[in-house]
Symmetry: D2
Amino acid sequence: MSLASTEAATEIIAAKRSDSYSSTTRVERLLARFHQIRNFTNVLCLGLEPEDYVVQSMPDVSPTKWHLAHTTWFFETFILKKFLPGYRAEVPEYAYLFNSYYNAAGDMHRRDLRGLISRPTVKEAQRYRASIDSHIDALLSDIDEKLLDQVEPILVLGIHHEQQHQELLTTDIKHVFAQNPLYPVFRKPKISAESSAIPPQRFIEFEQATVAIGHDGRGFAYDNEGPRHQALVPAFSIGSRPVTNGEYIAFIEDNGYTRSEFWLSLGWMTVNEQRWQAPLYWTKRDGAWWNFTLSGFRPVNKSEPVTHVSYFEADAYANWAGVRLPTEFEWERAASECTIEGNFAESEIFHPRSVAVASAVSADRPAQNQHLHQIFGDVWEWTRSAYSPYPGYRVAPGALGEYNGKFMCNQYVLRGGSCATSRSHIRRTYRNFFQPEKRWQFTGIRLARDPQ
Amino acid sequence: MSLASTEAATEIIAAKRSDSYSSTTRVERLLARFHQIRNFTNVLCLGLEPEDYVVQSMPDVSPTKWHLAHTTWFFETFILKKFLPGYRAEVPEYAYLFNSYYNAAGDMHRRDLRGLISRPTVKEAQRYRASIDSHIDALLSDIDEKLLDQVEPILVLGIHHEQQHQELLTTDIKHVFAQNPLYPVFRKPKISAESSAIPPQRFIEFEQATVAIGHDGRGFAYDNEGPRHQALVPAFSIGSRPVTNGEYIAFIEDNGYTRSEFWLSLGWMTVNEQRWQAPLYWTKRDGAWWNFTLSGFRPVNKSEPVTHVSYFEADAYANWAGVRLPTEFEWERAASECTIEGNFAESEIFHPRSVAVASAVSADRPAQNQHLHQIFGDVWEWTRSAYSPYPGYRVAPGALGEYNGKFMCNQYVLRGGSCATSRSHIRRTYRNFFQPEKRWQFTGIRLARDPQ
Amino acid sequence: MSLASTEAATEIIAAKRSDSYSSTTRVERLLARFHQIRNFTNVLCLGLEPEDYVVQSMPDVSPTKWHLAHTTWFFETFILKKFLPGYRAEVPEYAYLFNSYYNAAGDMHRRDLRGLISRPTVKEAQRYRASIDSHIDALLSDIDEKLLDQVEPILVLGIHHEQQHQELLTTDIKHVFAQNPLYPVFRKPKISAESSAIPPQRFIEFEQATVAIGHDGRGFAYDNEGPRHQALVPAFSIGSRPVTNGEYIAFIEDNGYTRSEFWLSLGWMTVNEQRWQAPLYWTKRDGAWWNFTLSGFRPVNKSEPVTHVSYFEADAYANWAGVRLPTEFEWERAASECTIEGNFAESEIFHPRSVAVASAVSADRPAQNQHLHQIFGDVWEWTRSAYSPYPGYRVAPGALGEYNGKFMCNQYVLRGGSCATSRSHIRRTYRNFFQPEKRWQFTGIRLARDPQ
Amino acid sequence: MSLASTEAATEIIAAKRSDSYSSTTRVERLLARFHQIRNFTNVLCLGLEPEDYVVQSMPDVSPTKWHLAHTTWFFETFILKKFLPGYRAEVPEYAYLFNSYYNAAGDMHRRDLRGLISRPTVKEAQRYRASIDSHIDALLSDIDEKLLDQVEPILVLGIHHEQQHQELLTTDIKHVFAQNPLYPVFRKPKISAESSAIPPQRFIEFEQATVAIGHDGRGFAYDNEGPRHQALVPAFSIGSRPVTNGEYIAFIEDNGYTRSEFWLSLGWMTVNEQRWQAPLYWTKRDGAWWNFTLSGFRPVNKSEPVTHVSYFEADAYANWAGVRLPTEFEWERAASECTIEGNFAESEIFHPRSVAVASAVSADRPAQNQHLHQIFGDVWEWTRSAYSPYPGYRVAPGALGEYNGKFMCNQYVLRGGSCATSRSHIRRTYRNFFQPEKRWQFTGIRLARDPQ
């Protein structure tokens, strides 16, 4: 990815400027952030056994061990090898083993074979992390302003890159554990049973307007969030909360999965080939729906937002309900005045909260905020927008230019973050993207509709 | 598909109204058009042997025989079975064999197995065509105005549907013949060798503007061309002519197919899996490029527009050239003042004309027209726009609602028609669509770029 | 294949020698045989439409048109190109298109793509046949004895080769027609309903003995039938008649297809992957079994030998019945005194006869013959012998050496011929072979067992 | 598998009988043997990291952890659950996870997904082993003679079963490590460089004879080694030593892998699809052949027996050399007088010894022994015999009947054991079997030929 422009500042930089040289120096804050995020990766792994780190349960999934090493490789490759004089890699093969998809950074190991690599062991991977972290410390310890201007944007990018992989690490280990009839537990459950009523689904109206879309350049953003530009957004309404498991069960029970009229042609093929009958991780036992969660196997809670649905399922559900999914511009416009708060990775729940609870929490908030419940956190919301470049978008030269642009094909944009996303990682302009058949992320449904 | 609105008139209707009841009645004109188009399907088949009608060379391709019968099935299913009292199908199995993808119209034979069906024979298929045509004649012979109002839009849709299949029949038989080392000839070549110079590629500039996009409701259009709506189109420039074979060879010779930096990630996978090294139908012999055409195997003509390229190749070429592909809105805006003329199916050349000749022809035209050569006909032009619904688009109920909407996923829009499209079929607002890896249509490249 | 030795004489040669120069010369008899067999290929095709000749319904199947041309190519390649001075192929590409698997004879078209080739047309293929036949006539018209000694064995081999393809042509077109919901008819049915009782299955006993196995060199034989050698065959019993449809239905109804204990491991995988529930071409309608035959779709006749079963099914049936399949040596020993007579291709029934009728016919015969009903003709009988070389077997040099030896892996031997085999083609020592999962030949079951 | 008969005694039993009640009791000897073999599995795992135990590098391979648990499951399922009153499994899911292919023992986890199961961890698997071993101790501690007669044959079978898995564990971890560019080392190399000359390949002649084939019932044997029976074995010669790497390189350099004339048809397809150019684990670097071994990556030693070749390669090599592979009867006859000694798993070298060394060792031996070098140990020797039942063979009832018989299809017999086989596991009559395309076992080539 390329930073949106040369002044593409980070949150840290932004903070610094507004503080106008506090006693805390720029480097210190940067390193503090770096270590904080690096450490959260370790926190996520508490409770895993060495054997758990090895498995790749499908090509989309990477072993935990690989995530540990790949995020480290990023700092080594794009910072240490470029900016630390005399730096030499301890294990040169890591450059090959832990490159994900940066063609310009050299050859790489085949993605679908990552689960065949037992070495380096977990301990060796941790040693690799520690070693690179030390070198980053050393590099920054007596860096001059000029070099820091070059290093900082990449370091900040690396931090956000690691946060992305923290989310993947979480959803990947969920998929790994789900293959095992012993159903291992990742985190003890924190959620108590809910009894409060589910608020009704309402549709908040927006008039046609020409609005600014994309990141405004203050603080960090990925290149795909810009350039900020004007767009004409016709009038629309958007749902006040995510679709719940209970509502989704009604779709299933109305034979939603066997009625072609609700489905995109490609979705219909997928449903039939994959024999989908419910969201990923759902199983019917004795007439009741159960689902595998990161806290074990338990009954489906009807008041939670439905999750682990593909774009195809989200779209079919909306068609069944007589409405549609929002575009990403509609979503961004609706979210523009909402506070970014909710159930994120920092809470370490790793499962969507009940709609009833979430609504109760935000009922104290004024105005529009209370109309759009759980728009951030809990579940990523599929939009009907194909992932494509904003007007004037240009891919940056070099390997980091491969971060976003080359994936702008056959994917759909998701917005708002999930229970596995870090609060400090998400933005109103953040564009996540996945192929329409993917289900292993915490993906959910927010509805929209045209003026009646 | 649903007609854009109830006043969705056909060209014939439009013509009738302006003539205000000429001696030629509405029905007569409708039938004349019907028979004209039905007959052109037969014209296309002149020169085919019965064996040629049977083959399906890949799942995308349908046997010629199937096209003959499927277009007929359309009239039988959506008109005769609904509106002709007492109509009974002679061979009930045809309903199963010749349904393409209309789930609401009943079960259907598997698409990829169409080449396994030797019966009905060609003669029987032709008999089926004649029989259905007679029934249509009979139905319309003493139809009352009220029923005609119901039948006409479907008949007109069926006519346009058949024209689409005429183009597919042509590109499909090209693919079939290309598999055969004997290289059968579909049409004797009409094109003489060209010597005139190729005009330079220029970029015509357009300012930012809010423009109306989509069909205005006058005459026939597919439902996906509407609703007409306002869109904000930022400033852009568009290439004055298609990219030529000669220019594309420069891309190949600059190792375009082996340099990942030009390619979308999915395109790069496709290039490597399929081992693409040039457009479909190209072969290198003794250092020179040859291509298979509907008039046989012959040297690649450098002054012709490059064709049989995928979206991936079109996009990679544009990246290599330092520019990009147009959006469909940019294309529609640029084409809005151009005359619809060019090399279409009616000319029965079935191959793109040289850019040199085409430019000479349009040099007599005034203003913008002469700046945008070959924007209609010759080759479909890939746009960077994912195929998605216009604001306010709604799928119609029933089987005909499956015409367009359910394909709005993982496809890209193409504009302008090709040498295999009928002149009477194309529109400025016409949205063709294919998956980004498809190459067997006459697809080509027009460039665009952002303001400098 | 290599003829067993240089004196490997044909039936014709054998006949000639015993006749000691009758007025009919050696060449005349050879040519008469050649034209007779070539003509029978045409007889088989009576009633086919040009479209039927094109289809390849699975990789094992070849289009009828291909069989016509390939058998012709054999004579052209191995006789005309070698022995007719100045011979030049009219269409050189045929050498590529119609080579089946003879690597030493040059490159070849991919087997699984034969159905994509619409040209040459059927008429052109027939013209090719006629042209090659004329050249063979010309070559033999004034051939000298010495050259004839070289040509004759290959011509005789070509005749037998064509007979093999006549059987394949028949079973292939059956498979093609079976894909079509219109169920085309190849031959009008000749079989009338049977009412006589089915004779019981008895087991004929044989003592342990050292016996001669393989062809004795008198008349034509394939190389894989030799060398004749001594083999120790332990005591065994063999079933008096093939297993019937009625008996096989009992196996099905006893859940034979869902009880793993009867199946080879590979067979069990195949049953589950392919979802087999009955022999190929069987369908259950309203509680009764129907099967597709070359005379159309009709109820399964319980008194006919079961056919279109794989080795896996034959073996599972035998296990269910508490017995086993015979080895090929047991079969050859048992058949050694039986008359070669039965239901062959010459009768043009192309379907197994009822066991009741067949037994009635052979009840007039003396001794052992009447104990072993239908051992020749009707259905090929799977043996439990893997197809492997006899002691001392050597592959001949050159392309004809590829006839048999290279297939001696992962196939099982079948014995006795079927209703699609020519009577003049079969021998007691004839070793047919197919992979254990194949079902599209007329394959059936004869049982054997160890001494009690 | 079924023991050949009720008197199917074990080595222990045999020993006991000859000793006629030594002070060491039958149970003590049995348990000593049990613990010795169980312990050797642990010995093999020394030096593995927990992560290494998890990986399945292809469907044929099982994770080390799975081998530990499956061999334990065997004793639990077939002994404890049947004979230990009140026995209850601690983790009932293990019955599902660690069943390999015994349909009669219940449902099982999919073989190709074994690498997706991270739990139980290695420690838990070891705890499972210890627990089951204790229960076996308990069961045998006060067993009466009658129950012992029932338990002992199964316990002995379980011991041999575990030895088979020890060999697989070794060859599987080799395959796992070979996928890793870091090339982990399983055992430090023990082999010193060799300089002595390679003895010439000679052919030892045998006359035609009727000989007894199969196990004579003294001591343990698998059911597929019987019944012992008479077979007529024609005259043949057999090679005095295995084919070496140096000889195999000559085949490669003579373009053996690109000349179809040496290959079985199925082998030729495999070579081309898999792009084989050398034995498994071989790589060419700077013009020299290297191979991956359990002691690391090192140059191919020309004096070692070639290993990791498929049946296809063994057969093609023999054809190239103008000879053939032996039948299993020829091999058994030739081996019948040879001493069982050589390079086995007990030596913990896990790589074939040089032919030069091995010959030096056996040069001291008298008579035929010195003519047939390395006929036991080092490499399994492919025979040309398809794996099929001996005359009179019957599958035993129940789950243990699935041990051998159901695999008698499309596999070839190998004889003699390898460097990964235990000396105490092999027999002259031992029939190993694999599909002809498999290469990950220590498989090699011994030649044979017909009388000249």
